[in-house]
Amino acid sequence: MSEPLQNSCRKLLTDGTVQVVIGYVKSPVDSDPAIPGFITKPEDCQRLQWNDLCDLNLVTYLSRPEIKKLGKAAIVVKGCDLRALAVLLRESQVSRENLYIIGMACAGQRSSAAAAENNDAASGTLATPYKCTVCDAHQPDAKLCDEVIGADSVKNEPVEESTRYARLTEFLKKTPEERFAFWKRELSRCIRCYACRQVCPLCYCNRCIADRNRPQEISTSATLKGNVAWNITRAFHLAGRCVGCGQCSSACPMGIDLQLLNLTMAKAAEDNFGGYRAGVTELDPVIGTYSVEDKEGFIG
């Protein structure tokens, strides 16, 4: 499917529909996952690739000022990435008319982070990430895309809610004490590099609250107190917004299972707000929207 993608992008750049294509290009190391590429010339389109090494969520680049500056962009997205883009559109971070969306049918990806999760850290080992095992978006939502490539290659199968949250359900079998001990152990390893924030398509604030000092909302030192404050705050900011693309876990150099934290909030949104799923439900964001049907059990 690389070729139709390259052809399509070449045409877009040649006829001036877009000024830049954000897509996947081959890593300098052959067997490594693809890296992001920002193609501005039609002749460079042959560098674009599409295979099962394209786990990165490129949507995160759309809200970057340096990318916005390049002009109208075409972006290559998987079905899961497209959900993050849907949230950005809803939160008016990108304007649809300034965007050309190329949806890729995707049978599943492989990543090194997933391999590390499986305790298979040998260099070059790749494994299937959790999101792909519970995927119900092999086909990107065609009505959000300008173009879908490989439309007939895969089909979307509904995935039960219980399956989607199987990991979390398993984790919740532990006692609260055990869970707290787990998170204390995990979060104490955080080195506050903020890679999770940089890679997240939905962390787009110009100035993150972690960088504010008047007042200092979050202690900046990499102690347990500061780390808990940072990671919990980030999880809260993603409540009802996180689409589960798993980039945070992939990017974390300390291998902290941040996705599990976000999964907790996603389930809370789905359970309490009429099955709300970020990037899937066509409603305004859960936070900041009131409906009389909202559960109020948490009051009193």
Binding site: S92, Q93, I209, G288
Partner: protein, 665 residues
């Protein structure tokens, strides 16, 4: 920040009894930045304020903390005192060591320690206070009155006479309201129409009053001083600019048997009609439900008869938007529907047979029957057979003061109009009997009780203190079974006519209007005033005022008085070029705002706008949320919901709150 003065009040014994104020002053004096800390018996008194002012001047204070009662009580007092000495009033903070401390504690030692902590928090806050300026909002110097009854007319005339332009919106074809249909008024028995219709004409002809009849308020946008009200001008099918009010149309209309709303169905009207001869404007409307031309496409007589060519059968609803600075709501009342209650909250009075017995009517229908302009031209004739009733029973409190029917309140005017009705009846039917069943007689007011006594003593009305249990019909008579609890006996009256004094309820649609205006209302739908004693015509929605029976049951004098009061408030408000308001509202750091618009969706006052940041050449830089200072009430919801912490409340910044919390850690 140095130069903080802390002034600790004893509040007489209120604080000093439980808090060791001397020790507090001593401890607070040791805090960094505090230049002076002192106690005094009454800080709010003239010498107390002078003390504060002297220290501001002599010690060159940059911030003041007054530790005393609730800011609700005296913050304005102390801010004004500071301002007179040249200190920015928003650099004055209060620590509430009365309600939050001395009044709720007994242990003096611990209360003293708590007082010290509370004051230390305020010291931390004042040290980060920035000078603020009161917000100035431009004002549209026009007002709107919604509801053209006597209250609305009075308010409109008072305001127009005061020199401002008034928009008067009335949903019926004519202004005049309930009062236009009344016969004579208590306690003077002067003719209602004789005193009202000249006022209606004044309102209709006043150069400063713009009249919208047969119109309803559709939508209200904006805020105090700057409202934009969308008005629906219902299709009238008559061009009021061409129409001369000659009457050819309604005199020739073949549909003559439509129950008249103005006569409460005691009389009939035509399909093209004016509600009553003195209507203002004297321009008819076509009742689209009954007009043969509009329903069946036949007839068209009125169009042929109209020499002015004013009839337009293809007329449509129209929308106009008016900009006003203030709104007076005077939507009035209606009688509670005791036959078929419209809400689940209220229940009916099936036992009185209203609707089943033609000669059981309500008080407003009786008003039409005794009115000289009514369907019987003032001759008292009962609806069933047109005969003069020789025995009439008036029943008080039908619905009012009856929790079981859903209305616990007294409708206030019924005792008076019942007495009036007996008198009007007796003056016309000299040999008739007028019975009144009542619970209590409530006749407070100038010349009111004298009036009731006159009905009983001079006109011979028969008053029975007790309730009526049931009314049945036998041989053309209404058998009214009641009790006289003073005599301790059951009373049965064979009546020819029964008049029910039904409870007053807010007029239909009042709740929906209140929602459009963000005005509160009680469980019955009466609009809520801001304060029952001190702000009786204001509402909690700035710039919106109430007058008349939409706020609570009222008689004419009270409604008129309240209307004039509301007009006075509006005139006062609109006498300035701009309004000022407290600056403690939200502020968005537009540079930092990520434009996610969580605040936009959350704000309960719709005070957040989506705005563009542009450079000096007009190039677009970014989107941002922006606060409309006219609308923001400073609730802080945006601050809580903002992920990038770009929203803050002036005078209550996160930085200040954190500083306060840190003094406790």
């Amino acid at each position: 920040m140095a130069g903080i003065g802390v002034f600790i009040c004893w509040c007489g014994e209120n604080i000093a009894r439980t808090v060791d104020v001397k020790k507090v002053a001593e401890e607070i004096g040791k805090l960094p930045g505090v230049t002076v800390a002192m106690e005094y018996k009454y800080m709010c008194s003239d010498p107390g304020q002078t003390l504060i002012r002297n220290h501001i001047r002599d010690d060159k204070l940059e911030g003041v903390v007054v530790a005393s009662c609730s800011p609700h009580m005296h913050l304005r007092t102390f801010r004004a005192a500071a301002a007179r000495e040249g200190l920015n009033p928003y650099k004055v903070e209060m620590a509430n060591i009365r309600e939050h401390c001395s009044w709720v504690h007994q242990d003096k030692e611990r209360a003293t320690a708590k007082a010290i902590e509370l004051i230390a928090m305020s010291v931390a806050k004042v040290s980060k206070d920035k000078p603020l300026d009161a917000i100035k909002i431009p004002v549209t110097r026009r007002a709107m009155v919604i509801g053209g009854g006597v209250a609305g007319i009075q308010a409109a005339l008072d305001m127009a006479d005061g020199g401002i332009e008034v928009i008067l919106v009335e949903r019926e074809p004519s202004i005049g309201g309930k009062m236009a249909g009344l016969s004579e008024t208590f306690p003077t028995l002067d003719c209602s129409q004789c005193i009202l219709t000249p006022r209606m004409v004044d309102a209709g002809q006043h150069p400063k009053i713009k009249l919208y009849t047969w119109s309803e308020v559709e939508e209200v946008n904006g805020f105090v001083g700057n409202f934009e009200v969308k008005i629906r001008k219902k299709a009238r099918y008559v061009d009021t600019t061409k129409c001369t009010g000659c009457g050819n149309c309604w005199n020739s209309c073949p549909q003559k048997k439509i129950p008249s709303e103005f006569d409460y169905a005691t009389g009939n009207r035509t399909a093209i009609y004016i509600p009553f001869p003195q209507a203002v404007p004297a321009r008819p409307v076509i009742d689209a439900e009954h007009c043969l031309k509009l329903t069946k496409g036949r007839c068209g007589i009125c169009e042929k008869k109209c020499a002015a060519g004013a009839i337009h059968y293809d007329d449509q609803d129209e929308f106009v938007t008016e900009k006003v600075g203030a709104i007076v709501v005077s939507t009035g009342y209606q009688l509670y529907n005791f036959r078929a209650p419209e809400t689940e909250k209220t229940k009916g009075y099936g036992e009185y047979g209203y609707g089943r017995f033609k000669d059981v009517i309500d008080s407003l229908q009786f008003e039409r029957i005794v009115s000289a302009s009514g369907p019987t031209s003032g001759e008292i004739r009962r609806p069933s057979d047109g005969k003069e009733p020789k025995t009439v029973v008036f029943i008080s409190c039908v619905g009012s003061r009856d929790n079981n029917k859903g209305m616990a309140y007294c409708s206030k005017i019924c005792c008076m109009y019942n007495a009036k009705h007996t008198m009007l009846y007796k003056h016309k039917v000299h040999d008739g009997e007028a019975h009144v069943f009542y619970m209590d007689i409530r006749s407070g007011g100038k010349n009111y009780d004298e009036f009731v006594r006159r009905a009983i003593e001079q006109d011979g009305a028969l008053y029975h203190r007790g309730r009526v249990s049931k009314i049945t019909e036998e041989g053309g008579k209404l058998i009214v079974r009641g009790v006289d609890t003073l005599a301790g006996k059951p009373v049965t009256v064979e009546a020819d006519l029964v008049v029910l004094a039904a409870a007053m309820v807010p007029s239909k649609g009042a709740e929906q209007l209140a929602q459009k205006l963000s005005v509160g209302y009680d469980q019955y739908g009466f609009l809520s005033e801001s304060h029952p004693k001190l702000r009786p015509v204001e509402t909690n929605s700035a710039g919106v005022f109430v007058a008349g029976a939409c706020q609570a049951p009222k008689d004419i004098p009270e409604s008129v008085a309240q209307a004039s009061a509301a007009a006075g408030k509006v005139l006062g408000m609109l006498s300035k070029e701009e309004l000022t308001r407290e600056p403690e509202i939200a502020h968005i750091d537009e540079k930092n705002c990520a434009a996610c618009f969580a605040c936009y969706r959350t704000c309960p006052y719709n005070a957040i706008e989506k705005a563009e940041v542009r450079d000096r050449r007009g190039n677009f830089i970014k989107m941002t949320a922006r606060v409309n200072p006219g609308l923001c009430m400073g609730c802080g919801t945006c601050v809580a919901v903002c992920p990038s912490k770009s929203a803050d409340i002036e005078g209550f910044t996160d930085e200040q709150i954190y500083a306060q919390i840190e003094t406790l850690l």
